[in-house]
């Protein structure tokens, strides 16, 4: 009974979401359209991935790839299965766990929302920029994890916090901003440039 109610509830919310997006687009309320569309799609992807277990698989994949790459570059590392891996520091082993924040799931979902509802792009551009964005996001996330692993291996377990919360996060954020510059801001300026040239003096 609870499952049925939950499913009905989800369907109702989805219907409201779709109706809202269509309504705002029809009446040209662009901020409401973009905010609802992008934010809604982000939530659908994040919660949907969690519901079908994809979130966990993604965390495992990120963890495994980090462990493998860390080993390749000389950082003592071992994947423990699921979303955990060990990194060797000077005093022993440190176990690190990847959660939803470091799995790139949230950032990928945000990217999808921002791109697919952005009114500047046609569908080809949306797919192209989303593809580029996904590759960069996943690569950046993996690099972030490597940085955290590297800092932990070099400076010990005490550095995990600032390695993750400061250095890793700053690195990832810088890459994401650079990504948004190239797939959102520059193309927007280019589209507006075309409109301004058409308007003339």
């Amino acid at each position: 009974m609870n499952t049925i109610l939950a499913v009905l509830g989800v369907l109702a919310l989805l219907s409201l979401y779709i109706a809202g997006v269509i309504f705002f687009k029809k009446y040209r309320a662009w901020l409401a359209y973009y905010l609802l569309g992008a934010f809604g799609l982000t939530l659908i992807l994040v919660f949907g991935a969690q519901a079908i277990g994809l979130a966990g698989e993604l965390e495992s994949l990120v963890t495994w790839s980090t462990a493998v790459l860390a080993s390749w570059i000389g950082i003592g590392s071992k994947w423990l299965g699921q979303s955990q891996f060990m990194v060797m520091d000077r005093s022993g082993w440190v176990v690190l766990e990847t959660n939803i924040e470091c799995s790139a799931l949230i950032e990928s979902s945000i990217l999808a929302g921002l791109i697919f509802f952005y009114p500047a792009f046609d569908w080809r551009q949306k797919l192209r920029y989303f593809g580029i964005g996904m590759v960069v996001t996943i690569a950046a996330n993996t690099l972030r994890m490597l940085i955290i692993a590297g800092i932990t291996a070099t400076l010990g377990r005490g550095s995990v916090f600032w390695g993750h919360a400061v250095v890793g996060r700053l690195f990832f954020f810088a890459v994401i901003i650079a990504l948004y510059w190239f797939i959102l801001t520059r193309p927007t300026v280019h589209e507006i440039a075309k409109m301004v040239i058409e308007t003339g003096d």
Binding site: R28, A29, W30, L31, Y34, L35, A38, F39, T42, L43, V46, F47, N99, I100, E101, I106, I110, G113, L114, P119, A120, R169, L170, F173, I176, I177, Y180, W181, L184, T185, R186, T188, V189, H190, E191, I192, A193, K194, M195, V196, I197, T199, G200, D201
Partner: protein
Amino acid sequence: MPIVVDGLDTLVRLFVVLIWGRDHKKHDIPDEELPFVTILVPAYNEEQVIDRCLNSIKIQDYPHEKLEVVVINDGSTDYTAERVMNHIAGEFQEGNGNGFGNGYSNGNGYGNGNARLPNGQGHNGNGFSHDGGDHNGNGNGYNGNGDRLPKGVYSSKEFKNGNGHNGNGHNGNGYNGNGYNGNGHNGNGHNGNGHNGNGNGNGNGYLKINGDTYPVPPFNGEISLISNGHIGKPKALNLGIKHMNGSDIVITLDSDVVLAPHALRNMACAFVENPGMGAATGHIEVSTDILEERDEYGNLVLDDEGGLITKKLTWLENLLARCQFLEYLDAFRLGRQFQATVKSTYILAGAFSAFSRDVLESSPLYRGRTVSEDFDLTADLHRMGTRVGYVADAKALLEPATSWDGLFSQRVRWSRGQLEVCGAHEDMIGNRKYGPIGWFGFPQMLIIDHTLAFPRLIWTLLLLLFPLFGYPVGTVAMALGFMYLFYVGLCFLQTLAAYTIVDQDTRHQTEQALGYCVILPIYRLVIFYFRMSGYLKSLKEPQEWEVTGPLVAAANGVNGVKNGLNGAANGFKNGFKNGFDLIAITRQIKVRFAIFGRQAYHHYATNGGSQTFLGRLVRRVSMAYSSLRDGRRHV
């Protein structure tokens, strides 16, 4: 993470400004060495503020003979042109006031001529007033003869010394009636109609700035009016540039702006002291002090001594005004100063900016291809390699937007303009060939305003849902609280830093606004959404100067829904009514049949011819109907 960018941006700006931006050079250039200045004032439907703007020019401590004011009336449908003519055609001594002259109290209307004549004795300005009538004139319209000011170019040089340009003026008795000052020094007597004249228009020729009252002196410079059809601000400014006389410095001034005392001198001195500077923006400051109390007709409300009264604001208007004050203080005193120091000033404020005449005339001038013609021109000047500066002590005061809808329209326009100008100058972005503006200024502006807007848009809401991802509610609340306090702290830091480098008047205003730092992050968040709306609209909607605000749009939407519901309710009511009418008609049909039946029965049953089959049938049907009828309510 955007807080890292915001924090770093603030710290870098503060460092640069406080180390290199403390420019307190005293300007002591003698009058004879000051350059000639032309001030261009484009105006479109600004009858309520144009007097104030022109008076603020008149009170400047700049030699008037080195000043030329060119007002470009851009096809105003109100009496902007006529008000400017008061400044051109008459000299106003203390107590005469400008503008409406005798105003409504004496029924002399807009009175160009009657500003200096008592009680409508001239033919001018007898019309329009509510109290018109015969006693005070003829009620014949603006110039007595009913015509609006024709299009053309008018100059104060033509209205001097007695009979003036037209003797009897353009429209019979014209603008001056009998010449420059009407019938005497100031019309009829020392101050027109008595000690302080007649009170309206400019409140008896005084100007109030930051609590201080400045009498408006006679103006010995030249004022011209170009009265034209509506061509838009960029073309209006270009028209003004074409008409100006020989001058060294050209200043553009919005007609709703009030120049602070010494603004012109400080601006001109900056050009003399920095000969390499080709253009500069002044310091724009939001001021509630220049808001004037007006009655329902739009006339100034004066106190018992004929002085101006500052408009009282509601709590919301006051809140918006103070937040804008803090915003502009940061944007100009810190922001523009920083940009000027790193040679990447990217907007010369259209409200108050100055140009070397040579530089301006070699530029493409103002273009109408974007809604931010001032920003577009600034980019053009950078292309030409012009050094663009910021003169902190050349101050102009601006009215705040006092409604959310007004703010929305303004910020949407700014966002749109920003993208359009960046689009028009796309090749400059990231291009070292154009110097710091290319490789630093434009990219920095776009990254902070546009690129970072996207993660902000989503993360502002997503953070609230982090408990659903397994994070403790307390942790999320603490993180949000910390972020809010961080931005409040940034605001205090910026405001206090600006406080140390502004003048006394601005310090006083800052002290009054400092407490609003606590709510400034909320204000900035709302403005962020307004700007985001502007970015999206610029992709999908045509250019518009004024945009419907969210509150008006919501109200329209609600009214639409209400009208729809009312329509539906009326439809139901009418439907029911029609339904009941149908029932009534049906009953009528039954009654008719009953009557017919009785008649038929009577014919067949009682007339003897009723033994036919038809007769027996009618009788039986009749009897059956009668028995039914008797058992029910009578129709």
